[in-house]
Subunit: 141 residues, 2 copies
Amino acid sequence: MDDLQTISKSLVIEQLKKAGVTPTQQRIEIGQILFAKPQHLSADQVLNIVNQAGPLVSKATVYNTLGLFARKGLVKEVIVDPSKVFYDTNTSEHYHFYAMDSGELIDIEGDHLRIENMPTLPEGTEAAGIDIVIRIRNIAS
Amino acid sequence: MDDLQTISKSLVIEQLKKAGVTPTQQRIEIGQILFAKPQHLSADQVLNIVNQAGPLVSKATVYNTLGLFARKGLVKEVIVDPSKVFYDTNTSEHYHFYAMDSGELIDIEGDHLRIENMPTLPEGTEAAGIDIVIRIRNIAS
DNA sequence: CTGCTTGCAAAGGCTTTGCAGAACA
DNA sequence: TGTTCTGCAAAGCCTTTGCAAGCAG
């Protein structure tokens, strides 16, 4: 197995508190992995990575925690595959390539894509977010 | 129950053949509903509508057929809700509002949204489609 | 202490599959 | 007639839930 990429507990605790999330053992474990670098992980991947060294966090808690982090703005849910949700640790406005062959999610560099002519939203509604996904596949050669 | 909106069998058969799909009883039933008007339906909704008057098509066949229609370009899959796939009968390039409160999918009129600065795709890949979803919610007043 | 969290296992919802019988060309 | 399609039920996968025990402040 590779070395786990993590950041310090105290840094994670700080981030959790700032987001209004009680820092528990498990949330810190998960945060150490998530916040280590920009990445796109499914719940299952998080579960495996966290417990690589032994059973630290249960499946239910991983799901609960990722949902909580998403609601608190610590991560972003990306829905591109009907079979599972990806959690993006990059919470700034940006969009994705989705490699259909590999199931991999790839960031589109920030200044590339821009939207023109934002449409008027339906009466009484506000925008909660804009998702742009460019589905790509390997060229059949 | 409301009247079913459908189109003529012969029209559906024509469309199926044009798409290279063998027109069977069940595919025609499903096509009559789908192709009647622009709409966004989940597999479950299609199942219920088709069988409104009696058991015409089984669940497995609805799933198979929708998947087939999507592969053949007769409908477009829209993935916005992790719990289910929507099938869009409007196959032309267009984007969506997703009303988070109601789970409803709404077309954005074609000439509104435009993308600027299409990024370069990763080496050896081609774009299979671009999905844009603006998630909207009711304003908490 | 007191409420929020966790973990386990079971349940849940959507979708796919295996296989026998039926329909299509 | 040979292949493709359908239907049923069961299985599969990801995710949520119920509830008792454990941790945070």
